[in-house]
Symmetry: C2
């Protein structure tokens, strides 16, 4: 029997306890050993009958109990999660977490502590909820060099953008709808500002290239400035707007990582990833594109990923699984403004034909887009591929001749 402690008893924590209880027999069979929850760390007392005896408010009790071999951290946040997890690892206990904020901010450090103490630190649930992605990336793609990763990693924003695209609902109404359905929190900023997707792409990029990328190194834009006009132009262009998190290796050995809304072609395998679903495309030098698709969040899918890691820990109590990346460095992430892309521009001007002539002069090869509801002053076009800093400079020139820029959206090539 392997004794486990669960730290945190919120949405994911109750799910983890439930999965472990419901599937006890099958799980023991798979893990080749019984799994028993000895403690559940809570802030207050929970007098819930089936688990009554297991609640504790003392982290020290968990830390100092030599019977505890595996600790599940589902508290969220950095404080006290970071301190607790680090001390558990240093005490020779394996840790499983769903805490993407923790892994994105402290992954390299915690992996090093785990390595030093020959224990496991696993976090499959931190990206993609119940979609297996960490393990396939670290193991199955072992024989590939990862050329790039592109993903729709946040279900809330994908729900909102899908609603805008399919039903012509405004951003605000779609957000309200997501909140009503429980897909978005009362304070939705971590989702709609891109922070959540940013943490996830940091984890995937760190894993793919073996060196930590920190969230503050990643240029991150949310979807709050996306309007129905943009969505309609995306459709006219032959695609959709998605919040994309992407990473790729540059020729100079850096990584180019951004999180932002992008136009993507209707032909892309990510174009049909709708509603609260997530899709993650990994481009390997040998395998080509592999896409993982499924519900990226939710109490039970996340809990099932946590429990799968617990089972893996039980199987690897003696032989540590190899999962590791080194610490990052300030100059490791490339300047996103050096990257050449196509861009979509929505603007307005007194004389749109004249403005478009200026635009074509500044952006050779640009092509104009039209939509029915546009007023006479609206101008929209997509550019050819151009480094973002040159694009921004040219955009300034366009402003200088009296064109007001309403939005610019990057065009993805995945």
């Amino acid at each position: 029997m392997v004794e486990v402690a669960v730290m945190g008893y919120g949405v994911v924590g109750t799910g983890v306890v439930q999965v472990l209880a419901q599937h006890a027999e099958g799980l023991s069979h798979r893990a080749h050993e019984g799994i028993h929850i000895k403690y559940i760390l809570v802030r207050h007392d929970y007098p819930e009958p089936p688990m009554m005896g297991t609640f504790t408010r003392s982290f020290e009790q968990i830390l100092n109990d030599p019977e505890i071999r595996i600790v599940v951290e589902v508290m969220g946040g950095l404080d006290p999660a970071y301190n607790y997890v680090r001390r558990c690892l240093a005490a020779g206990k394996s840790v499983v977490t769903s805490n993407k904020e923790l892994v994105a901010a402290k992954g390299a450090d915690l992996l090093q502590v785990a390595k030093d103490h020959n224990v496991n630190f696993l976090f499959e649930a931190s990206v993609g909820g119940g979609i297996p992605i960490i393990r396939p990336m670290s193991q199955c793609l072992a024989a590939n060099i990862v050329i790039g990763i592109a993903g729709i990693l946040n279900g809330t924003t994908n729900y909102i953008l899908t609603k805008m695209f399919q039903e012509g609902v405004s951003f605000q109404d779609a957000l309200a709808d997501a909140q009503r359905l429980g897909y978005a929190e009362r304070d939705p900023s971590a989702d709609i500002e891109g922070t959540d997707a940013c943490r996830k792409i940091c984890i995937l990029t760190s894993l793919a290239y073996g060196k930590h990328v920190y969230p503050e190194q990643v240029h991150t834009e949310g979807i709050t400035h996306i309007t129905l006009a943009d969505v309609e132009y995306a459709q006219k262009w032959g695609g959709v707007v998605k919040l994309i998190a992407e990473a790729r290796r540059t020729d100079s050995g850096k990584v180019d990582v951004v999180v932002c809304p992008m136009f993507i072609s209707g032909e892309s395998q990510l174009a049909n990833v709708d509603d609260v679903f997530n899709g993650i495309m990994v481009r390997g030098d040998i395998t080509g594109d592999i896409v993982f698709y499924g519900k990226g969040a939710g109490k039970m899918p996340t809990a099932s990923a946590v429990v799968a890691d617990v089972i893996d820990c039980v199987k690897h109590l003696k032989a540590r699984k190899y999962l590791y990346w080194a610490d990052g460095s300030p100059d490791y992430v490339a300047d996103y403004r050096e990257t050449a892309r196509q861009f979509f521009v929505r603007a307005h001007a007194q004389d749109t034909d004249a403005a478009y002539e200026q635009a074509v002069a500044l952006f050779p090869g640009a092509s104009r887009l039209y939509r029915k509801e546009a007023d006479a002053k609206e101008l929209a076009f997509v550019t050819s591929q151009i480094p973002e800093k040159d694009f921004d400079t040219a955009l300034q020139h366009l402003k200088a001749v009296g064109v007001t820029i309403d939005n610019k959206i990057r065009i993805g090539d995945m």
Copy 2:
């Protein structure tokens, strides 16, 4: 340094040697130990310079060399692969294979031998080429009960069906095209008769439910009888025709497994899996639907999956990975004719309106489909859900009143 033998030097074998050579440094880093190819088992001598010293025609040399810890079997077929693999496992060597015929026919036996001798028998490359599916299914879904699996598991037939659908090319022409491009073999029967997809769903089902399903237990139909008329009706109905391999658990504890062309809705995540791509949907009780998508075949993707397994073996030379299923039994696979489904029927009759009236009497809730090019005698309809044996009985009644049945195609619900 871990010494490895590669048995077979055909398409996949040369790919494996190439990946191991090209990525030597990165692989050693990931495996934490160098990997060295000591032997390549061939039928004839290959005087190719870089690998010259490693060729051997003697299996016994490999078997009796205690330095060889891992054997890669990429010969294909059952004879002599089964004998060789079994003896290697019994000699305490781990085996990695891409041979789906071997795993589908002898998996339970070989997994038992591996277990008895505390070595690994891994076969990620046997299903889905470079798409990671065996490992995610066995590990990440450990905390799920698999409700069902549905997949497009054969790239050749998917290429043909895509070509028919998108370009209106006949089956024969699309097949010829696939052969010209090297997607189909000169003898394409294993692909177009469904045998290849059948082997793969046997492997996935055995893994998902822990008990071996043998290919001869699975009702298997290929795509040779699919015409452009069927493809056009699928489109009118709102979907596509795909060669689907599906498995699910029945209430009585059996498994229901079939391989056959199906109409699937355009809304399905499998509907957009086109060309030589594979898509595999796994429905978990907790995670919901998870889809894996990528190129399902090809020399290098398959080789990369083999090499990933080799690396995993190197990491697990001491602790065996848990991958196991028990032997099957004759009554384990349910009679597919008991399963209730919707069906598509294409027929012809002198008086199609009268025939359709008869059809509706026999299949309450049937709805008729039309297409432009149909001649006056053509009749097509889809039925409501009905057990297949009742459907077949009713179809006999329809024949008895003078209706000629040209095709029946199952309708999938994935």
